[in-house]
């Protein structure tokens, strides 16, 4: 009992000083659980996120864009790998994590349950979705858990390229033909609100936010990050000559921020619960890939075992 108290004091001291918590350090069970939930959710998001964008690799409009998109989607897979490794340091295997995803126990970012129906969606995802993700990830570079922070530092290096390539697509479309401009506006209309939802429920009702702030897993609240995102993005929307689908959006001189309309949290909750336009397809694709790959993974394991047995045999001989 006293031990736990001491350990907890020591843990809190470290947090206070701004030291990293490392995998071997003592940590409250709830801290560990929160991190596993958050890091794995993040990893799953990277991997599921490959699907809507991967959709357009074969249809990219020119070879340069195709190469950029391929590299981008490949980066996202890499992010998934770093994050699965970071989660594994907390004592859970990748197999277990994937199982949680496939059974619906673990979540991934709901944004990837929206469809990519035109090329402009690839622009909107890079610009808005990666843009929103970056704000979260920049903050997480200073998260209290060492491996998570280090993964974020690596990831952030690649993310600014993701947002830039998306914005570039939007610039090209908005300078293009009437049809292209229409495509860009339509994508903005569809992605704007779901992107704002990415920051999570309002602080007043967010169940996880308070603990995460206390443990310095998060350093800014959902609402703070959301406001920052809106403030930053509106100038870009204006540069593109597009409009956000929010009649209440208005600069508030007194606050020094943009005011914006009410987010439809009922839609958010419904998509989180599994009723978005692509939830079933996304999960089906991931489960299908895993199932279809089972014989491949089994073969690799069997081959490695045979090789190990051979090596052991030759040592004995």
């Amino acid at each position: 009992m006293e031990d736990t108290v001491k350990q907890e004091d020591h843990f809190n001291e470290k947090l206070e000083k701004g030291d990293f918590i490392e995998p071997k350090d003592w940590m409250p069970e709830k801290y560990r659980k929160t991190l596993i939930r958050q890091i794995s959710q993040h990893a799953h998001s990277e991997v599921v996120g490959m699907l809507p964008e991967g959709n357009w690799i074969t249809r990219a409009p020119n070879l340069r864009r195709k190469a950029i998109l391929l590299a981008k989607v490949q980066d996202e897979g890499g992010h998934g790998l770093y994050l699965y490794s970071a989660a594994e340091t907390l004592g859970i295997s990748r197999e277990e994590l994937l199982d949680q995803l496939h059974t619906g126990k673990a979540k991934y970012s709901s944004i990837f349950n929206y469809p990519t129906v035109t090329w402009a969606d690839i622009g909107a995802i890079g610009w808005l979705v990666d843009g929103a993700a970056i704000m979260n990830q920049v903050m997480l570079q200073r998260t209290s858990f060492g491996p998570y922070s280090r993964a974020m530092i690596r990831i952030c290096k690649e993310e600014s390229f993701h947002q830039r390539q998306g914005y570039e697509i939007m610039v090209a479309l908005s300078k293009g033909s009437a049809e292209q401009k229409q495509m860009a506006q339509d994508a903005l209309n569809r992605w704007w609100w779901p992107t704002l939802m990415m920051f999570g429920p309002p602080d007043a009702i967010s169940s996880n936010s308070a603990d995460s702030i206390k443990w310095k897993i998060k350093r800014e609240t959902n609402d703070e990050l959301r406001q920052k995102f809106v403030d930053r993005t509106i100038a870009q929307v204006e540069y593109l000559g597009l409009t956000v689908p929010d009649p209440k959006l208005k600069w508030n001189e007194a606050r020094g921020h943009y005011d914006f309309g009410e987010i439809d949290w009922a839609e958010f909750n419904s998509v989180v619960k599994g009723n978005g336009p692509c939830n079933r397809e996304r999960l089906k694709a991931r489960v299908g890939a895993h199932k279809n790959g089972e014989w491949v993974r089994d073969a690799a394991t069997a081959y490695a075992k045979k090789q190990a047995a051979k090596a052991a045999g030759s040592l004995v001989a």
């Binding site: 991997v47 490959m50 699907l51 991967g54 690799i57 074969t58 249809r59 990219a60 409009p61 020119n62 070879l63 340069r64 864009r65 195709k66 190469a67 391929l70 590299a71 989607v73 490949q74 897979g77 890499g78 998934g80 790998l81 699965y84 090329w119 697509i169 090209a172 479309l173 300078k175 293009g176 033909s177 049809e179 292209q180 694709a285 299908g288 890939a289 279809n292 790959g293 089972e294 014989w295 491949v296 993974r297 089994d298 073969a299 690799a300 069997a302 081959y303 045979k306």
Partner: protein, 252 residues
């Protein structure tokens, strides 16, 4: 066919190979058997796309009619494509993809090894860079062929089936044209006929290590050098060229 035409045709042949194969590999993105393979296949696809862009840019320059890499990729018709029939075959299961990689990549490795000595400096430069990439691709498919062949009973069966089913497209990879003969004489192109026995030896070595049987003889399908393709190519082009065909002449 004069030398200029032959050179354009040769670059298109090689560029189409990597474009179409890269397209196929990129279809795996997000659907691979393990995340590491999603990354590896995307990486290979990206290298192949880079090779295509170098080759198309050069073909367009040699042609001198102001066409771009994108004109070549997006506005040619099915019968104008010169990619080997093998490269357009469907992904199938992972074993089929690996067998296709093995057959193509062994060829590409031999080809670029020769072409880095080409008397055409641009070709030599493109080949030297491609050879580095191809060495990695070759290791990747060799290792997987062996792992799958010598893994479980199921993987062995699937890998053997894959090798057997794609075998009929392997002669077509080496098909040559009159134009090639012209370029070979000038020391610009590699003589595919001399690559074939080396390819046979490479494939045999890997298949043997993988406890797989090397197919012998049988029907061999050809035609890619004359633009005669299997049914797959038009579907690929339908996807690949969709935006450029629907909205011609736009900037993206």
């Amino acid at each position: 066919m004069n030398k200029q035409e032959a050179l354009i045709d040769y670059c298109l042949r090689l560029g189409d190979n990597s474009l179409v194969l890269g397209h196929r590999l990129s279809e795996w993105c997000g659907h691979g058997p393990i995340l590491e393979e999603d990354l590896a296949l995307a990486n290979i696809a990206l290298d192949l796309l880079g090779q295509t862009r170098n080759l198309f840019t050069y073909a367009a320059a040699v042609e001198g009619k102001g066409r771009t890499e994108d004109d070549l990729a997006y506005t040619r018709n099915n019968y104008e494509f010169r990619n080997a029939l093998l490269t357009e075959q469907a992904n199938g299961d992972f074993a089929v993809t690996i067998a296709r990689q093995l057959f193509y990549t062994s060829y590409a490795w031999l080809l670029f090894t020769e072409l880095q000595k080409s008397k055409d400096e641009t070709i030599a430069g493109i080949a030297a860079k491609a050879l580095k990439e191809t060495s990695y691709h070759l290791r990747h498919c060799n290792e997987w062929t062996i792992r799958l062949g010598d893994g479980t009973e199921e993987s062995h069966r699937r890998m053997q089936d894959a090798v057997d089913s794609l075998w009929m497209y392997t002669d077509d990879i080496f098909a040559q044209t009159e134009g090639d003969a012209l370029l070979i004489k000038e020391g610009i192109a590699a003589d595919a006929a001399t690559l074939k026995p080396k390819w046979d030896a490479m494939i045999k070595e890997t298949l043997t290590k993988a406890t797989l049987k090397m197919p012998e003889g049988g029907f061999m399908m050809k035609g890619s050098r004359e633009g005669k393709h299997t049914e797959h190519l038009t579907y690929i082009l339908g996807e690949l060229q969709f935006l450029q065909r629907t909205y011609p002449g736009m900037e993206w």
